[in-house]
């Protein structure tokens, strides 16, 4: 077939371009996050003293870190599925999230005596955290990968990793409402591990699912 013939067919198939990637991403997010909340409600539920700690700095810090990770990851992945779109700014902004976490860790180390660092780091609930975050993230990750398939990532594995960071960030924020460990030391270790598992799964799935 001559290329001009193909162009004729493509022209005949001209229709309004579908909804934007951001819109598709948002639509996919809804069922994913609802399912994540359902899993949370069935398996864990909020911690009993939720209202008491609602103003606690350490407690709130967990949401600052996880939600800013989710937001920055979303902004990056929207760019990653647009071929040729510059991503430098979005990557730089995303890099601020670990810096925020590091600042929290540093302050915790300054405030706490070194004898209690160990107990804060290990916490009381590490394994639950490590299982819950990937589990809550899974429906969101799958939904987002479906939405991102409509995109055109030139680096599918990377796009999958960042989608995983997004789903992991939201899942960690949901889990944080149950988690009795509020120390940034605990967050830096266990939350990061849980989110890393999701990012890894996203990368592997992205390599396969996000090819176009």
């Amino acid at each position: 077939m001559k290329t001009d013939d193909l162009i004729r067919a493509l022209t005949s198939d001209l229709a309004e371009p579908g909804p934007s990637i951001e819109a598709r991403f948002a639509v996919a997010f809804l069922p994913g996050v609802v399912l994540a909340f359902a899993l949370f409600a069935i398996m864990l539920g909020p911690r009993p003293d939720l209202m008491l700690v609602a103003g606690n700095v350490r407690f709130l810090f967990k949401f600052v870190v996880t939600l800013s990770l989710a937001l920055c990851s979303a902004m990056l992945v929207w760019r990653l599925v647009r071929p040729g779109a510059p991503v430098r700014l979005q990557i730089a902004v995303l890099c601020f999230v670990p810096l925020i976490l590091a600042a929290g860790v540093l302050m915790e180390l300054v405030v706490l005596p070194s004898s209690s660092w160990g107990t804060r780091l290990v916490g009381s609930n590490g394994l639950v955290c490590l299982v819950s975050i990937p589990l809550f993230a899974l429906p969101m990750l799958i939904a987002e990968l479906f939405a991102l398939q409509q995109g055109a990532p030139t680096r599918p594995a990377l796009a999958g990793v960042v989608a995983g960071l997004f789903a992991g960030g939201v899942a960690a924020a949901i889990y944080a409402a149950h988690c009795p460990d509020d120390s940034p030391l605990f967050v830096a270790l266990w939350y990061s591990l849980g989110i890393a598992i999701v990012a890894l799964a996203g990368g592997l799935a992205g390599r396969l699912a996000l090819r176009w």
Partner: protein, 183 residues
């Protein structure tokens, strides 16, 4: 951004508004630019430039099916280039080569000889034959015979809506077939 790229953006915006003539002009003007990228890339990898037209056609299909991934606030050139490079690398990988293709600079220095070569049966013809009958007839009628949607509908005793659906599905299937690994 070159003037040509500004034109490309204008044409794509018009196309997104439903202007088929603008869309046709855009694709017709993109084809030689993509062809130059494909030829240079294949040439640098030490591969025959014969396959360049397959890459051009695969890229045009991807541009068509993924046009919602272009952000109208950004220039069209880098978007087209990224898709072309991606499809070129895919094509070379399918042939078992993993050469690095530094072609960012290439599209700017267009080779003068970017006319479409005399057609030889390419990958697209191969993939077309494996489409379901109805999609195949519709795609053939519109591309090869130059029939309109309406003519195709009456010729194949289908509704215009059904022709449109078959055309779109056929094109999407053709694009997907490029991605499948061939032995």
């Amino acid at each position: 951004m070159s003037e040509r790229e500004i034109d490309w953006g204008v044409l794509m915006r018009a196309a997104n508004g439903g202007d088929a003539a603008a869309y046709n002009r855009l694709l017709t003007s993109l084809a030689p630019a993509i062809r130059a990228v494909a030829r240079r890339g294949l040439g640098r990898a030490g591969l025959a430039a014969d396959d360049a037209e397959d890459v051009v056609q695969e890229t045009l299909l991807a541009i068509h099916l993924k046009r919602h991934t272009w952000d109208p606030s950004l220039p069209l050139g880098p978007w087209v280039r990224a898709i072309a490079r991606n499809k070129l690398i895919d094509a070379m990988r399918r042939r078992g080569r993993r050469d690095h293709v530094p072609i960012d600079d290439v599209i700017e220095t267009l080779a003068s000889d970017t006319a479409e070569p005399t057609p030889i049966p390419g990958k697209l013809d191969e993939h077309l034959q494996s489409l379901p009958d109805r999609q195949q007839s519709v795609v053939r009628a519109i591309s090869l015979d130059g029939a309109s949607i309406r003519e195709t509908a009456s010729r194949l005793h289908m509704s215009e809506g059904a022709v449109r659906v078959a055309l779109h599905r056929g094109l999407a299937a053709l694009s997907a077939k490029f991605g499948t690994r061939q032995s």
